[in-house]
Chain length 227, copies 2
């Protein structure tokens, strides 16, 4: 059977959350004299969640939330040199090379001959486009959809736009909340490929059944053959 396979980008095709984690580690070191690492993490997550409805997802919003958190935890005493460092963290993230996960390039290339592939990724339009271009994978996808939120309505719109029924669609991604649950809600299939780090905001309790799980994207061709 020829499937339409949707792939998430961040932490499914290329590393992303490790970049955030590394940056957050540097942020902790920068403010170590002001606040303990655990407290800072909690304050930053609070700030990010509060800002999500106006900033959306992505690096620029993350940087703005780090700056806001630094101002707050320091009671407005953080020096401008630290603010400059945080701005630099952000620029380094935005310029960071795109690193594909193991086996991704081969698997995507192999699957693109037998199935229709869509890239369905959430986040900042400009940054995602830049990452897709730098990934070297763009030519293998029939369509690329950069969306601001991954809910059932978003997937419904994407499938309609590409003329695909849910019975022929499989979504592959690392986030149960964004890549699995909304797709199951449409009656389509989903394959969870966990990444070793998950942003606290993305964590959702996995339902007991209804979707497949793969340790690596390289297992996908066998999984599909067995569907």
């Amino acid at each position: 059977m020829r499937w339409t396979i949707g792939f998430d980008g961040d932490d499914t095709l290329w590393h992303n959350e490790t970049l955030f984690s590394m940056t957050q580690e540097r942020f902790r070191a920068l403010l170590a004299e002001e606040v303990s690492p655990d407290d800072l993490d909690a304050r930053l997550l609070d700030t990010e969640r509060r800002n999500l409805e106006i900033f959306g997802y992505g690096i620029k919003g993350f940087v703005l939330s780090m700056i806001e958190t630094a101002v707050e935890v320091s009671a407005e005493r953080v020096p401008a040199s630290d603010i400059r460092r945080i701005l630099d963290f952000g620029k380094e993230m935005l310029r960071h090379p795109v690193e594909l996960l193991d086996g991704v390039a081969e698997t995507i290339e192999a699957l693109s001959g037998r199935h229709d592939l869509l890239l369905i990724t959430k986040g900042d339009l400009f940054d995602q486009e830049s990452k897709i271009a730098r990934s070297g994978l763009a030519e293998h996808f029939r369509g690329i959809e950069i969306v601001s939120e991954k809910d059932p309505e978003t997937y419904r719109r994407v499938l309609a736009r590409h003329g695909v029924g849910p019975e022929r669609f499989v979504m592959v991604g690392n986030s149960v909340r964004s890549d699995i649950l909304p797709v199951l809600a449409l009656g389509a299939r989903a394959v969870h490929v966990p990444y070793h780090v998950t942003w606290a905001h993305e964590q959702a309790d996995p339902p007991a059944e209804g979707y497949l799980r793969a340790a690596s994207l390289a297992d996908l061709p066998d999984l599909l053959a067995a569907l």
Copy 2:
């Protein structure tokens, strides 16, 4: 004739640049003791241009560039309370109500019955989606395209996606650089509706001919009838 009409969003359908101008005015006042208004404007534009290739367009990148400029012009002496103020400027911009230009609601509604309307807007995905939703105009458009850059290739892709030939396409917008020139390059038509403020980066020398000009969107139905 039934046209497919593409509309720009910012400063064509709703006010946008005035919001940036107002914020920049507050930014000048905040740093008035450090630097003259003209110098600050020049430094900020430099910073924005330098950052454009990693930030793209939009309010979040503008806020990050204001913070960077404040750190630089103060030689790292800007107090954290000023940084907080700049963050607040950004949040106010993101939450600001969407204000349609005069005559837009009526014109869009009237045209949507006789032509196919597309909204083709550049900028931050999340912020643009939010503005479109709040504009109350979304239902009148056959398609909504949020793009990171408006060049001939972008327009070619949008037209292909909607199955529209350039001979049936008219683009309407306030930016000669983004809405007019790349569309003329495809052999389609364009109507320039100037806005009273243009961001320095968007200014382009208008070519002498090849496109129409309207003082207001309300003139569009008559212009189209005469095409």
